[in-house]
């Protein structure tokens, strides 16, 4: 019975196990006494009792709230981005009527997500960031980053939008396993997650058809999908809209604190649930290589909180602790 190995195992599922235990130093004192009184065979039972206390007495909301505030931060990032885009007349003049309407719909959805998450969190919600928190050019406050024309050039704007939505989809997917203790919150998170995926799909269609095209969905995807992506992620999409900045959005995550039997793989992953799916029946007559690509498209991948924060902070100014 290795006590620290047990905690290490629990930590994979609940990264805050140390905080939970540490905030109850009395339990450790209690345990010191136990060790002297109990036989070795009884120790596991005693440990079980300690963990029951640690988890039963800690409001489950502590962990859930952390995940929700993380989600809220990402929604602020998206919401402020679309607010600024809709306010730019230069940008709007380069968009087709259906694209303008679609972006307004997305803007409203993101604003609603902020309102919804604030409502769920109540007083536990983080303070609303100021607009000065973000630099959507990726310049960390210089306003002259790699996406310098983000609010004047529709192509750049849609490229950043796709990047934010694809990141959001991966982030919610990674957060789901951390919300299992609260069924209401889990369902709400899943219901936001699929809306983000709908947004991502639409933005990808707009990019492949061109910002000024009214029939966004009928554009033709062009490999390797940087500028004219499919509606779904194909392999790693060659690093996404702007590979120097966006490749991590489609890459592998950090598995250090991954839940049991969950890995944060790159979008080019072809193994699901421990099975290499390239061995599945190839029933639609594709080449082996094309079938492998289809497998990557059929499954989106989850991403861990740390990696998502690093990606999102591309758009946070230096000196801010937002999403840190």
């Amino acid at each position: 019975m290795n006590f620290f190995q047990i905690i290490s195992e629990i930590e994979k599922v609940d990264p805050e196990v140390y905080d939970r235990l540490d905030s109850r130093r009395s339990i450790f004192k209690h345990m010191t006494g136990l060790g002297q009184k109990l036989t070795a065979a009884a120790v596991p039972l005693a440990l079980g009792a300690i963990f029951n206390k640690a988890y039963a007495q800690t409001p489950v909301g502590a962990t859930v709230n952390d995940v929700l505030n993380f989600a809220l931060s990402l929604e602020y990032l998206e919401s402020y981005f679309y607010n600024a885009g809709q306010a730019s007349t230069t940008l709007q003049s380069g968009l087709s009527a259906t694209n303008k309407a679609a972006l307004e719909l997305i803007r409203i959805d993101e604003a609603n997500h902020v309102t919804f998450l604030r409502g769920v969190l109540g007083t536990a919600a983080i303070a609303a960031p100021t607009t000065a928190t973000f630099d959507f050019t990726g310049g960390k406050g210089s306003a002259g980053g790699p996406f310098a024309d983000v609010f004047t050039n529709p192509a750049t704007y849609l490229a950043v939008a796709q990047s934010l939505e694809d990141t959001g989809v991966r982030a919610y997917k990674g957060g789901a396993a951390l919300l299992m203790s609260n069924k209401t919150v889990l369902t709400a998170a899943l219901n936001i997650h699929s809306v983000e995926a709908r947004h991502a799909s639409r933005l990808r269609a707009m990019r492949r058809a061109g910002p000024n095209n009214n029939a966004a969905s009928q554009g033709v995807p062009v490999a390797p999908y940087n500028a004219a992506p499919k509606s779904w992620i194909s392999g790693t999409d060659n690093g996404g809209a702007s590979p120097t900045q966006t490749a991590p959005i489609y890459g592998a995550g950090n598995n250090t604190n991954a839940p049991t039997n969950v890995t944060f793989d790159a979008e080019s992953n072809t193994t699901q649930g421990g099975t290499n799916l390239t061995g599945l029946p190839n029933t639609t007559g594709l080449s082996a290589a094309a079938f492998a690509v289809a497998i990557t498209e059929a499954f989106d991948e989850a991403l861990d909180v740390t990696t998502v924060k690093t990606i999102a902070r591309t758009f946070v100014v230096n000196g801010s602790t937002f999403l840190a």
Binding site: K173, H193, V195, G219
Partner: protein, 230 residues
């Protein structure tokens, strides 16, 4: 075939039947125009039904049933493409058909891997869909994709394993990407319509019994989802 689940030859209880009929009527909004005859309760009394099972294996069989339906539908779309498909649309359907076949075959492997009883191959009923009509095909695709999204969203809280929850998340976002594309092909800008995404910006979720009731008109075998996730 030893892992094939035998149909349970248990007559459906009278009260269950009325719940069933009610659910079907409620789901007509999701069903296609022209299939109202199939929703006539007198015509759909299930004399026997196949239980999808319990626990996470039941959830996997539930997803397997839906993916079988979607894969069969898109296979037919690709086999007999509508003459009025616009340029590029057949290519989209071909890719979606492959995605859904992969989902189906993955779930089949996962169920066997989990030591569960595998749902038999289902026999689809697509008589309400006119495969020579672009509009009919797109409307049916929209129904199936939105139903799939709501099904996986509702399944999350019923899953007991983090692994399966994450996998369900990995599939549902692809279904949502499909749904948005199909909706936009049908009606530009409808990717996240008010009838699908509510005033708080949330998508829909549905229970297994409601989803199976909505899918049942397209499936010959009578499915019983009452114990799924329990």
């Amino acid at each position: 075939m030893s892992d094939t689940l035998q149909p349970l030859h248990t007559p459906i209880k009278r009260r269950s039947f009325f719940q069933y009929a009610g659910a079907t009527a409620g789901a007509t909004a999701l069903a296609l125009a022209g299939c109202s005859k199939d929703s006539d309760p007198a015509a759909i009394v299930p004399v026997s039904s196949i239980s999808l099972g319990t626990g996470d294996v039941g959830m996997l069989n539930y997803a397997y049933a839906l993916e079988q339906l979607e894969a069969a539908f898109y296979a037919q779309v690709v086999k007999t493409p509508a003459a009025d498909f616009l340029s590029g649309e057949l290519a989209y359907f071909t890719q979606i058909a492959t995605h859904e076949a992969i989902h189906r075959d993955f779930l089949k492997t996962a169920i066997s891997g989990a030591g569960g009883s595998l749902l038999p191959t289902l026999t689809p009923i697509f008589t309400s869909i006119n495969f020579s009509s672009r509009a009919s095909v797109l409307n049916a695709a929209k129904t199936f994709e939105d139903l799939g999204v709501a099904a996986y969203n509702g399944a999350g809280v019923l899953l007991k394993s983090q692994t399966y929850l994450t996998i369900a998340g990995q599939i549902v976002s692809v279904e949502a990407r499909h749904a948005a594309l199909i909706r936009d092909l049908l009606s530009p800008g409808s990717f996240a319509d008010d009838n699908q995404v509510d005033a708080t910006g949330l998508d829909k979720q549905m229970t297994p019994t409601d989803v199976i009731a909505a899918a049942q008109p397209f499936i010959t075998e009578k499915l019983d989802a009452s114990s799924v996730g329990k």
